[in-house]
């Protein structure tokens, strides 16, 4: 049976038999996107499709003219989501992920970006690119690399304390130790595994013994 945009199973093909929403309508998130494109200066969604100016910074949507003080009102980075770390399963070891920029891979890669370290202390880590408008705030946000999907892959803790890699059907795919990872198939990870994704990003998995 098909699913309606609100995720109800519906026998009827035209409108959902539960909530009445049109079956062929885009999902609510995508729908919000069409009703208000984000302002290119401050990121605020356009009030109505026909409105001329951005309600926050005054950007002219019709003429595509930025306000005079465009630099001052650059988009503010989204507030970090604070989550309680899950209790570590085996208290003796800590899993870490190091994100590196492979400058040789792509001329557009940032030259002087430092490696970033992400402790793997949750049960599930989303790897991807931030999209505050769609409400996607990955735990491992690899923002500047636009070859990475917003919801690209995830690292999931197994019952034995180890981690699996799952590609979430990303646009450009994921390489695990040089081999393409099939979408939505769990691949058990080991110390020293390398995950390649996007245009220039490499993730290195490490286990630290405490």
């Amino acid at each position: 049976m098909p699913l309606c945009p609100n995720h109800h199973l519906s026998e009827a093909a035209d409108f959902c038999a539960i909530c009445g929403v049109e079956m062929s309508a885009p999902a609510p998130a995508a729908l919000a996107a069409t009703s208000g494109e984000p302002c290119p200066v401050c990121g605020t969604p356009r009030e109505a499709p026909g409105s001329v100016f951005c309600e926050v910074c005054g950007y002219n949507f019709a003429g595509r003219v930025a306000p005079a003080d465009a630099e001052r009102i650059a988009p503010s980075p989204p507030a970090p989501v604070v989550r309680e770390p899950d209790p570590p399963v085996g208290a003796k070891v800590r899993w870490e992920l190091e994100a590196r920029v492979l400058t040789a891979e792509d001329p557009g890669a940032p030259r002087d970006a430092a490696a970033r370290l992400f402790p793997l202390d949750l049960a599930d880590h989303l790897i991807g690119r931030r999209s505050p408008r769609r409400g996607i705030l990955p735990d491992i946000a690899l923002d500047p690399d636009d070859g990475i999907s917003h919801r690209h892959a995830c690292l999931r803790r197994r019952d034995d304390g180890g981690f699996d890699l799952l590609d979430l059907g990303s646009a450009n795919g994921t390489l695990h130790n040089g081999k393409a990872a099939a979408a939505n198939v769990a691949i058990p990870l080991q110390d020293g595994d390398r995950i390649r994704l996007g245009r220039w990003t490499e993730l290195l998995l490490r286990i630290r013994h405490l």
Binding site: C16, I18, C19, G20
Partner: protein, 427 residues
């Protein structure tokens, strides 16, 4: 064959949650002979034989008898009929009989022998009629059950009527007629509304036979019975009201049949239909507001035979809701919805105005009836304006300025009251 058509403005502004639509249901004569057609007509006549019917030389009872015998004569051979004489008791004068020539002759003799005496206890009459209809239905299912009740006084015992009506609902339809001016409009209107019939005044006894002919003519035209209006709504939606708005105003909101196959469905009984019927229904549904640009099915109206969960719809119509920022689209009220909203307001103004007059509040009566005059003119209800003129002197129709007439004939006021629920269709 049934067809259903929707009239509505589906466009709603942001955050709006009320959807209004008129669903117009029509039948065409193809209904005859198809699988949907029902069995023969069972017609019950309930005639008031209380003491007052015999007063003033017994003219009312004499004309009532003529009406009954003429009605029996007009029946087809395959019809079944019965006659109940009512006072504070109810007596089955003619038990359910097939309308063959010999049986009609016997019935005529029985009716001729009726005499007046006693009180008026409507629920007894209805209970006895209910018993007859049930018996016939057991023997021959799928018959069309209609009844006619004639009275000239008000019910002596008020307590039992509601429960009796609840029992009769869904078993037979009943038209109510009041002869003279000593009966209660409210009471007969409630009876007719619950039993999906019409209500009217017969001001003079000599008009009884003609009125009965009209009712019987309509009853004989019925070809299909137990037609239900099935309303589907999205989960969490509330049905604010469901009304028949044409040919008569009839609030069905509280009359949904219990035991619908699914909590999202509501079934409403519409009784039997003829081959060339048109009835309009007004639905108001409150839904969860959708996002801008979203299109939603706020209601699906279908007509089904019987109450089976998987009954195949005879006709179907969709009530939609589309949320948009475009004010030009959301500001428009659909012409048909507006027309019938006005018809409802007109009926209310008349009924409240007459009630105020009855209770001696001349100011309120003048105000309400003035508004009724104004509405009737706006909506083009010429018949209603004509009836209103017998109760008020119209000073300015457009402004609704009127003067209450002093010499109001009670029959005119009652005619206005009973006919207030009759609506005009848009051309």
């Amino acid at each position: 064959m049934f067809t259903a058509k929707v009239f509505q403005n589906a466009h709603l502004p942001r955050g709006a949650d009320e959807v209004h639509a008129i669903v117009s249901v029509s039948t065409t004569s193809e209904t005859k002979g198809t699988a949907t057609s029902s069995g023969p007509l069972v017609f019950g006549l309930m005639i008031d034989c209380s003491g007052s019917m015999g007063e003033e030389g017994g003219e009312r009872l004499r004309h009532a008898k003529t009406g009954v015998t003429e009605a029996i004569a007009a029946l087809r051979d395959d019809c079944i009929f019965f006659v109940i004489a009512g006072c504070e008791r109810a007596e089955l004068i003619v038990p359910p009989t097939l309308a063959l020539a010999a049986h009609r002759e016997t019935a005529r003799e029985m009716v001729r022998g009726l005499c007046a005496g006693g009180g008026t206890h409507l629920s007894r009459w209805l209970e006895l009629a209910l018993e007859q209809f049930r018996r016939v239905r057991e023997a021959t299912p799928n018959v069309i059950c209609e009844a006619l009740l004639l009275t000239d006084g008000k019910n002596d015992r008020l307590d039992a009527l509601e429960t009796t009506l609840a029992e009769c609902e869904g078993v037979f339809q009943c038209h109510a007629r009041g002869v003279g001016v000593d009966w209660q409009v409210d009471e007969l209107r409630r009876l007719a509304q619950r039993l999906l019939g019409t209500v009217d005044i017969i001001p003079e006894p000599q008009l009884i036979a003609e009125d009965f002919r009209g009712i019987l003519g309509q009853a004989l035209g019925r070809t299909v019975t137990d037609v239900r209006l099935r309303l589907w709504c999205p989960q969490g939606a509330a049905v604010l009201f469901c009304r028949q708005v044409s040919p008569e105003l009839l609030d069905l909101t509280g009359q949904s049949i219990s035991g619908a196959p699914n909590p999202q469905l509501r079934d409403f009984d519409t009784g039997s239909w003829s081959g060339s019927d048109t009835r309009d229904y007004h639905f108001a549904i409150r839904v969860k507001p959708g996002q801008l640009g979203q299109k939603m099915l706020a209601g699906r109206v279908s007509l089904v035979l019987g109450g089976a969960a998987d009954a195949k719809p005879l006709a179907e119509a969709q009530v939609l809701a589309i949320w948009t920022d475009d004010e030009e689209r959301t500001a428009v009220i659909d012409r048909t919805v507006a027309h019938y909203t006005g018809q409802g307001e007109l009926a209310q103004a008349i009924q409240e105005g007459l009630a105020a007059r009855q209770s001696g509040d001349a100011d309120a009566a003048t105000r309400k009836l003035g508004r009724a005059v104004q509405l009737a003119a706006e909506l083009g209800n010429e018949g209603t304006t004509k009836l209103l003129r017998r109760v008020v002197d119209i000073v300015d129709e457009r402004e609704g300025t009127v003067k209450l007439r002093r010499d109001i004939d009670q029959a005119d006021a009652m005619a206005l009251d009973t006919r207030s629920t009759r609506t005009r269709r848009l051309a």
